[in-house]
Symmetry: C2
Subunit: 378 residues, 2 copies
């Protein structure tokens, strides 16, 4: 049982699609799948922009989202408060961009005011893009994309490039309403299928920037993907089986409806956080900036890795550990994608039992499940 | 029934692996799969070099194989006699490499002598790499990699970067014995699984070049893949389901044995070519340079696209068409990967029936299947 922030659980319907024999990617049958999937991706992104599909992880999609719209020496403003925010800074630097960062401590949200100040100070419009991780998977913090984006729009020139890898399909991101230029995501998250596909939505303004952007690229050249996507095709052989599965899960998402999907993730988050609090374990991120996809717990009474180990061995539930500097300090409960109320109750029940097995003091038996159940019933 | 050069047919065993629920990519279980797969990839490549796995198409793997070992302005020599050879020239130029090409007409092999001359003339050792497509998928031509490589080795400085996308697992490519520095391939070919994985083998000499290579890269940075592969892990979330399938097909390949695999592809090629000749259809590539993976046919008595159309509609057999300038001029029969003698007999039988249905003159009924059967029985 996967309760990690990706790969996330995959519904049986999608698993069976994966087992279908591949078809030719230049066939009419595949074009029809591409056409449907593209329409439904636009629906999911709440946009009329292009939503392009790459054979890559989310990182490949985000790199494409950065390098297609900028030129060597361009100044960009990047928010970092976790491993993924830092990764986009590394990408930007690898391509010779001039990166200015706005940082917050791990577990803290980025301060929109700092973006406003930097952007307002840039009267010569030197800042070409703002790069931002919406839901920071490494810490469980949701940054205030809506407010930061408002400051970017007030700037007028800069593109906003958003890592929505663990927020798309979990939290409301109205791409057109907010005017988000580039939004990157990955298949093993809210999409409910295995890893292997990266997604990038691209606004008209970003395509304008593409015309003069000069960073080298070929496989990640989004112009090639747009040109072929317009004909329901791909520039390079796509992972056809993952497209079969994606077609199935996008239909499931449409049947559930965006509002219901977002409400479900909110409920799963509330239930998980209420339970963790009731068990007396410290949450790593505050309620005000909690990610709907993942809850990080920073236990003080017990080693995080011991909790993960018992959860895996005794209950076959995979939780995620901390990454890099957070290794051993936190464990992370994923509640993203194909996750139900029942799954969260089950995981919380197992977590309570785990704490008992590890003789953690101060845990009231049943308090976690009771708190989760109450949150769900509200 | 897929008789195209990729995606190629996938055995049931691998399809069922695809339908397994994903597991965490940072789990011990996945590390074990990585360890086994990596060992078996080395076996398949006949090498002790690193064989790294990317979430990408074959193009992504080849781009990684080019951009990790070269610097802006480096001079490279590239052979082009088809769409894929040309693609690597485009990649090299996109990154600012200085490309000199050795060309041959579509359907003709590259002349090794031209490589020898260029390389011998380069006494100042300015040529940093030779880029070559082994089996040119667009034309069904197999270039003489062994001889060209010998000239590269005589040069001493230049790396040899090989596109083995449709030759690896079909033709003997002893990477260590020949000293091939970089070899790129893709999962939907000889590997017998769906598209989604790219492979790059990297020699010690190539890693030396990596140290000073300065082309920008992040997602395609092979150093990151090596660092994590050494710990049986991945820098970015890998498509775990494709790894399950790959584990299964590599075991199948080991059970069959390299020599048997190569002999089977040789036999399928011989049978296909004998049949096409017996049916009176012109082969696009000569016997001396015929690819063991794909046979291109350039019919004069009937439109290539009509043949493909009837084969698809009447017999549900997918053949490939010509690409770009060859569109409508050739059709291509794939016999790569999970293809048996029976499959070829079946496709040839259907092709004969198709020609009859299209009233193509000069085709002796049964001659194709008879010739294929004879070639198989030899």
């Amino acid at each position: 049982m996967l309760m990690i922030p990706g790969p996330t659980p995959v519904p049986e319907k999608a698993l069976l699609e994966l087992a279908k024999h591949p078809i030719g990617h230049r066939s009419d049958d595949f074009s029809k799948i591409m056409a449907e999937v593209t329409q439904n991706l636009k629906w999911l992104h709440q946009t009329q922009n292009d939503v392009l599909v790459l054979t890559s992880s989310g990182t490949g999609a985000m790199e494409a989202g950065i390098i297609n719209f900028l030129s060597r020496g361009d100044r960009v403003l990047a928010g970092t408060n976790g491993k993924f925010g830092e990764r986009w800074v590394e990408v930007a630097k690898a391509y010779g961009l001039e990166v200015e960062t706005i940082t917050a401590d791990y577990g803290q949200p980025l301060d929109p005011e700092q973006f406003r100040e930097k952007l307002e100070a840039d009267t010569e419009k030197q800042i070409k893009a703002v790069i931002l991780t919406h839901s920071e998977t490494s810490t469980g913090v949701l940054n205030d994309l809506e407010t930061i984006n408002r400051h970017v729009k007030a700037h007028g020139e800069a593109l906003i490039i958003v890592d929505a890898v663990t927020s798309l399909g979990a939290y409301n991101i109205p791409v057109d309403e907010w005017g988000l230029d580039v939004v990157g995501s990955g298949s093993q998250k809210g999409y409910m299928i295995p890893p292997g596909l990266g997604f990038v939505s691209v606004s008209a303004k970003a395509w304008e920037a593409y015309k003069t952007a000069n960073l080298p690229r070929y496989y990640l050249d989004l112009g090639k993907y747009k040109k072929t996507a317009d004909k329901n095709s791909n520039p390079f052989t796509p992972p056809v089986n993952l497209f079969f599965a994606l077609q199935a899960t996008l239909r499931m998402m449409q049947a559930e409806g965006l509002e219901n999907i977002f409400a479900r993730h909110q409920r799963l988050m509330n239930a998980t956080r209420a339970a963790v609090k009731a068990m007396g374990l410290p949450l790593f991120a505050a309620d005000e900036c909690a990610s709907p996809a993942i809850t990080a717990v920073a236990p003080t009474q017990v080693e995080a890795e011991k909790v993960r180990s018992v959860m895996k061995k005794q209950f076959d539930i995979a939780l995620a550990g901390g990454q890099d500097s957070l290794k051993g300090k936190i464990f992370r409960i994923g509640h993203l994608g194909f996750v139900s109320d029942r799954d969260v109750l089950c995981a919380i029940g197992a977590l309570e039992a785990t704490l008992q097995m590890l003789n953690v003091e101060g845990v009231t038996s049943g308090a976690g499940v009771a708190a989760a159940a109450e949150a769900i019933s509200q």
